[in-house]
Symmetry: C2
Subunit: 126 residues, 2 copies
């Protein structure tokens, strides 16, 4: 809908934490990210602050220790990001990308089954 501000690569990692659970304090975000990255606490703090500045993350400042939460849903950010990605990398041809990915191994048999089901139900709803 509205314009989602740009979210950089590192910032995405922070957002993923907050989408998983929120609100969280900075320290909780830091603790969470240190399991998967080697970023210094201050670095993570900076990323959080920037996201707040960009209005992608909100802050509760009424508590002694601030807590942070996403201002956009994960779904809408994923869609926006993927749309520009597909346009740039696949010239807008969603299908090309889908084909490339379906042809790779990374899908389990169950995944395939599920995808097929979705595809089957797809044409009806037009």
């Amino acid at each position: 809908m509205k314009n989602i501000p740009n979210i950089s690569e590192s910032e995405w990692e922070v957002m993923n934490i907050l989408w998983n659970k929120s609100p969280l304090t900075a320290n909780e975000v830091i603790a969470s990210l240190q399991q998967t990255t080697d970023w210094k606490p201050k670095t993570i703090r900076t990323l959080l602050d920037r996201l707040v500045h960009k209005n992608v993350v909100g802050v509760n400042r009424n508590q002694k220790v601030y807590t942070f939460y996403p201002l956009y849903s994960q779904d809408e950010c994923q869609r926006a990001e993927t749309e520009s990605f597909v346009k740039r990398i696949y010239g807008g041809a969603v299908k090309s990308m889908l084909v490339q990915f379906i042809e790779e191994e990374s899908l389990s048999d169950d995944d395939i089954k599920e995808l097929r089901k979705i595809l089957d139900e797809k044409p009806k709803e037009k």
Copy 2:
């Protein structure tokens, strides 16, 4: 295979031109990009030079006017880029992304038919 250097958003546009046809002179690349962007010739030239510097694009310097060509295939760059993209945006779950995209409208009935066919042939080859 090898490490593909980072290709920025704008640089991707240049690469797309070269993958479409190469080798091309700088002017040919410029002419091509000016149909879809409003970049100044010098800007495009800079992008080309940076790609050469990054060793993503090669140059024939034996002609009076240089010609440029990609050093990586479009396919391998797409895969590399998409892999890191999916990891960051969808936590590595290719399926989540596929589902999200299949559920959107952007696919024609033919596309769907084709995808279904690919899916059908998929489980066999394991």
